[in-house]
């Protein structure tokens, strides 16, 4: 499998109140196409910073972030925006959407903005609706975002992240604001998307969520302390077992 993402000696430093805060320190890892990687770690360890830096939302202080063969750490902000629009998808813990647009319009918005997406507007809308149908939220297409539940909204966010058929989806605690049922539903959708070939990297605190991924990276104090690899699970029983073994591994890591 080819590497979709390759991170070499990545450093990220914030300066607050004239004090230098090294959030990421020489981070190195690779993500192969089709992987579903979870980043775990204690609060303040640099998980979200890592996600935002490797996805080009934040600038790296030093090091390389090679996405699909291009070092995005050296790209201009407009070039980064194009990559985020056409080749990446994003899901956040809070279900951010534009308040004045309907759910469907929010989903279709990145497609309409994309110059690489060659579909007609009608086809884009139809594709957005097909994604909604797939995720079981077609009935809320014309609703305003304040008229739907958190779980539905997060699934709508997944649809939005998928609209331009990205190579990779980045998700920052996608189930963090959801109840267990909604969380399971959302993870099931992400798993299906991954099974269809889209690479996923997510940040989570939830062992149940991480257990559904194919790899877990544990980050402490800006460094990747360890990695835990799984095969794709095939049954619920297998999942329970994975959760237990992941839990044990995390305990070893100092979780």
């Amino acid at each position: 499998m080819r590497n979709v993402l390759e991170v070499n000696n990545l450093c990220k430093t914030y300066i607050t109140n004239k004090r230098q805060n090294n959030v990421l320190k020489n981070v190195n890892f690779k993500v192969e196409q089709g992987e579903m990687v979870a980043i775990m770690g204690p609060s303040g360890s640099g998980k979200s910073t890592l996600l935002y830096t490797v996805s080009g939302m934040d600038k790296a202080t030093a090091g390389e972030v090679v996405f699909d063969g291009r070092n995005i750490a050296s790209l201009k902000s407009s070039e980064l925006a194009s990559i985020r629009l056409d080749e990446m998808g994003f899901i956040f813990q809070q279900m951010y959407m534009l308040k004045n647009l309907s759910v469907l319009d929010n989903i279709v918005l990145p497609a309409c903005q994309s110059k690489k997406n060659m579909l007609s507007k009608k086809e884009k809308v139809e594709y957005g609706m097909s994604l909604m149908r797939k995720l079981g939220i077609i009935e809320i297409a014309d609703n305003d975002i304040n008229e739907v539940s958190g779980g539905q909204l997060q699934r709508a966010c997944i649809c939005r992240s998928m609209i331009n058929k990205p190579q990779m989806i980045f998700a920052d605690e996608p189930t963090g604001a959801l109840n267990r049922t909604s969380s399971d539903e959302v993870m099931e959708e992400l798993r299906k998307i991954n099974a269809d070939g889209t690479t996923i990297m997510l940040v989570t605190h939830d062992v149940k969520v991480a257990a559904k991924c194919t790899r877990v990276m544990y980050i402490v104090d800006g460094n990747i302390k360890g990695e835990y690899n799984f095969d794709r699970y095939k049954s619920e029983n297998e999942l329970r077992q994975r959760e237990r073994s992941l839990n044990n591994w995390l305990m070893e890591m100092g979780w």
Partner: protein, 790 residues
């Protein structure tokens, strides 16, 4: 604890607090300066007349053989408390030279010694002039600017055989003759210089006169008595007529008044917007405070203290800015009137205190909502308080717009209330400009010539001394000869034309027991059917007459009635056949048929020679011919129709100055409001901006979204302003034209290019630039802020 929370709040919400502070400064500046100016303008004339000591009644008379015929008449009127006589000598442009050329006075002039003038004359800095040194002369600032005279330059008076050069030592504000519409310009000199200048007995015996200042409670008795006097009175009027001569200056002042009202409205709008906007940000915090058990009153006090602190700082800064800002606005409109009230600073301070009170009131009303909230409500409502409101109106899926344009349009349609402040502000701003532009263009356009009760001609030429020469017995014959010569000269110079002339007679009119004295116009070279009438038909016979509505009302007469004119030839009866309007004498005018025999010795004035070319020259050719005629007759007083109206109205320079001032103020206000609003929107929409960046929108697309919202709003405002333009112009300026005599309304000169294209585009352009520049701040917002925003 309050202080600590307040300190942290001010620091944490720095951007919104700075925006709020700027809006408070803006509001305080506008309100303080505008209310001060409104009070100055609304009482301007009364205060000015009081300071100057303008008499209740004024008469300008001609002295024959050393005797003033009016004095005997005045002495007979018992209601007169007292009167004062000021000697004067009449001059015309042939008597006054500047740099070897005749001085352009455009009116008759009078020369007076300073020590005989009874009322107060003011200098440029509004101080009472105490005297004029020997060898010096004072003249009105209008004459000074019209002739580009500098202080220290010399003017030469040639009166009969006497020639004397005097140094211009300053410009004056003259309450009685300060307005162009009074038709007299006053030159003030030292008594000894005056004595020297009138030494030529032959001239001074012919042109000596008096200015009679009469103080009385019963001006109507004087008016009635003087209307019986057939000769000697050049001009007489009461204080209210003198006031009405300042109508054009009041048009300018009224502009300032309208601008002040608009600025106050804008100030309130932006204040309300900012306070409601910033308070909406606090809902979540309010909820948290309620949840942990802090009482409503305590929470309310916390916010009140914060807004009080900002209001005090903002109002004090605004107070200091309001003084120079207000003076700048007043200066542009007080060229002829002494404006400004003595208690100016007190009003500014009171207004600033008022702003603080208003802010606290808004804040009190806003925080009042919190009583109704449960802690959970407040937290759930978050920053918008709109969770359950239907939002999106447009559908991206059905729209042909690009995403940035679509989001911008949808934002406005979804939350019009949010843009209401901007819409109202921009509409007020543009309407203000359009009203002023229409007024200025109308006052400079030949389109209003019919509203002055005269006919439209290609060229107008004025020659006061020659025109005065017709005011003698058989003057009509001389006029006929001159007109014939003029037509011949013009034809010989390749400008075939028909010339005409308007002579004015001040004649007593009676209808039943009603009596008044009015200017009576008779055209020479025109026929009565060439003029515009509002009711009835043009006089066709010798015994038919047309009156203005004002005279008809004064005489209680209507079409079909017969009125009597007391002419030198005896009393003559005329049938009223038409009503017309004229802004020439504040609406007082009468027109008799061209065939009426009337001795020109009783004429009191005339208008310019009117030239109508018979070979239909183009506008450009007319301009060429104006220059040719200037050379032919060695005079600068040759005008095309637009210039002639401008010379009659005489405020175009001032109104252009005000137009420029209003435009600058309006554009600055537009830019400020746009910048502050856009900055508020960015602060509020930080989450949405970072989200769009995160999902791949470029900075340029997001900046386009934010800028387009303001451009759309400005365009909507331009359309609203254009739709409201005519009714608003009528509402604001109509009454002023009506006071001037155009009771049937004026045909406004609307220049489509200016009102539909230039000014709306200017407003949209300023909005676009301001929004675009402010929206650059969006670049500093990072896509990763998505994780930080609540």
């Amino acid at each position: 604890m309050y202080l600590s929370i307040l300190k942290r709040d001010l620091k944490r919400k720095k951007t919104m607090n700075i925006i709020l502070l700027l809006f408070i400064i803006l509001a305080s500046t506008f309100i303080s300066s505008s209310i001060n100016n409104m009070l100055s303008v609304s009482t301007a004339l009364d205060t000015y007349f009081e300071k100057a000591g303008v008499p209740d009644y004024l008469a300008v008379t001609r002295v024959f053989n050393g005797e003033d015929p009016i004095i005997e008449t005045i002495d007979e009127i018992k209601s007169i408390e007292y009167y004062e006589i000021e000697p004067l000598i009449f001059l015309n442009s042939n008597n006054i030279y500047y740099k070897g050329e005749k001085l352009d006075t455009q009116a008759s002039c009078i020369l007076q010694p300073f020590n005989k003038i009874c009322l107060n004359i003011f200098d440029e800095s509004n101080q009472v002039v105490k005297g004029v040194d020997k060898g010096k002369v004072l003249l009105s600032n209008k004459l000074i600017s019209k002739n580009n005279i500098s202080i220290g330059d010399r003017i030469t008076f040639k009166i009969g055989s006497v020639s004397k050069s005097l140094e211009v030592c300053g410009s004056i504000k003259d309450a009685v003759f300060g307005s162009d519409m009074m038709g007299l310009a006053r030159f003030i000199v030292n008594q000894s210089d005056y004595n020297e200048l009138i030494e030529d007995e032959k001239y001074s015996s012919m042109y000596r006169g008096n200015l009679c200042d009469i103080y009385t409670d019963d001006t109507s008795a004087i008016k009635a008595k003087l209307s019986e006097q057939d000769s000697g009175i050049i001009f007489n009027c009461d204080k209210s007529t003198i006031k009405s001569a300042y109508i054009m200056d009041l048009v300018i002042a009224a502009t300032l008044l309208v601008m002040s009202i608009c600025l106050i409205l804008i100030a309130f709008l932006v204040l309300r917007f900012t306070i409601y906007f910033s308070m909406a940000e606090e809902y979540r915090e309010i909820g948290v405070m309620k949840a942990i058990g802090i009482k409503n009153i305590k929470i309310r006090c916390l916010y009140m203290v914060k807004y009080l602190a900002l209001a005090i700082i903002g109002s004090v800064i605004g107070l200091f800015i309001s003084v120079p800002f207000g003076n700048m606005m007043l200066d542009s409109v007080s060229q002829t009137i002494v404006m400004g009230i003595d208690s100016g600073y007190l009003i500014n301070i009171t207004c600033s205190l008022g702003v603080i009170a208003i802010i606290l009131l808004f804040c009190f009303l806003c925080t009042g909502k919190m009583k109704k909230f449960t802690p959970v409500d407040a937290i759930r409502n978050g920053s918008t308080g709109e969770r359950f409101k239907k939002k999106g109106l447009l559908k991206l899926s059905k729209s042909k717009l690009k995403p940035s344009s679509f989001i911008a349009a949808n934002d406005i349609l979804s939350s019009p209330g949010r843009f209401a402040t901007v819409i109202l502000t921009f509409t007020l701003c543009l309407s203000m400009i359009l009203i002023l532009v229409n007024t200025a263009n109308t006052l400079k356009s030949n389109q209003i010539i019919p509203s002055f009760g005269i006919t439209k001609s290609d060229v107008y030429m004025s020659d006061i001394s020659k025109q005065m020469s017709y005011m003698v017995e058989n003057g009509e014959e001389k006029l006929e000869k001159d007109i014939y010569e003029m037509e011949k000269t013009l034809k010989n110079n390749g400008m075939p034309a028909k010339c005409s002339f308007e002579t004015i007679f001040h004649i007593t009119l009676t209808h039943g027991d009603k009596k008044c004295k009015s200017p009576v116009y008779q055209g020479f070279g025109t026929t009565t059917d060439q003029y515009t009438y509002c009711e009835g038909t043009a006089p066709k016979n010798k015994n038919e007459i047309a009156l203005t509505k004002k005279i008809a009302d004064e005489l209680d007469a209507e079409i079909g009635d017969t009125i009597t004119l007391r002419q030198l030839e005896g009393e003559k009866k005329y049938i009223i056949t038409a009503i017309f309007q004229s802004m020439m004498n504040m609406g007082e005018a009468v027109r008799i048929h061209e065939s009426v025999d009337i001795d020109y010795i009783q004429s009191s004035g005339s208008l310019a020679y009117q030239i109508n070319f018979t070979d239909n020259p183009s506008d450009a050719e007319i301009i060429n011919r104006v220059e040719k005629i200037k050379t032919l007759y060695s005079t600068d007083n040759v005008y095309n129709a637009d210039e002639y109206i401008d010379s009659i109205v005489g405020v175009s320079e001032m109104i252009d100055g005000v137009r420029m001032l209003v435009m600058i103020v309006v554009l600055i206000v537009t830019a400020l409001v746009t910048m502050l609003m856009e900055r508020s929107f960015i602060a509020k929409e930080r989450g949405e901006i970072s989200l769009l960046k995160a999902i791949g929108f470029r900075n340029s697309a997001i900046i386009k979204w934010h800028t387009l919202r303001f451009v759309i709003v400005a365009t909507v405002c331009a359309i609203i302003s254009l739709l409201l333009m005519i009714p608003l112009t009528n509402l604001a300026v109509g009454p002023i034209f009506s006071m001037m005599g155009a009771l049937y309304g004026v045909d406004y000169a609307i220049k489509p290019l200016e009102v539909c294209v230039i000014y709306p585009l200017l407003l949209i352009g300023v909005t676009l630039i301001s929004a675009l520049l402010t929206a650059q701040y969006i670049r500093t917002i990072s896509a990763s802020e998505c994780s930080e925003t609540e």
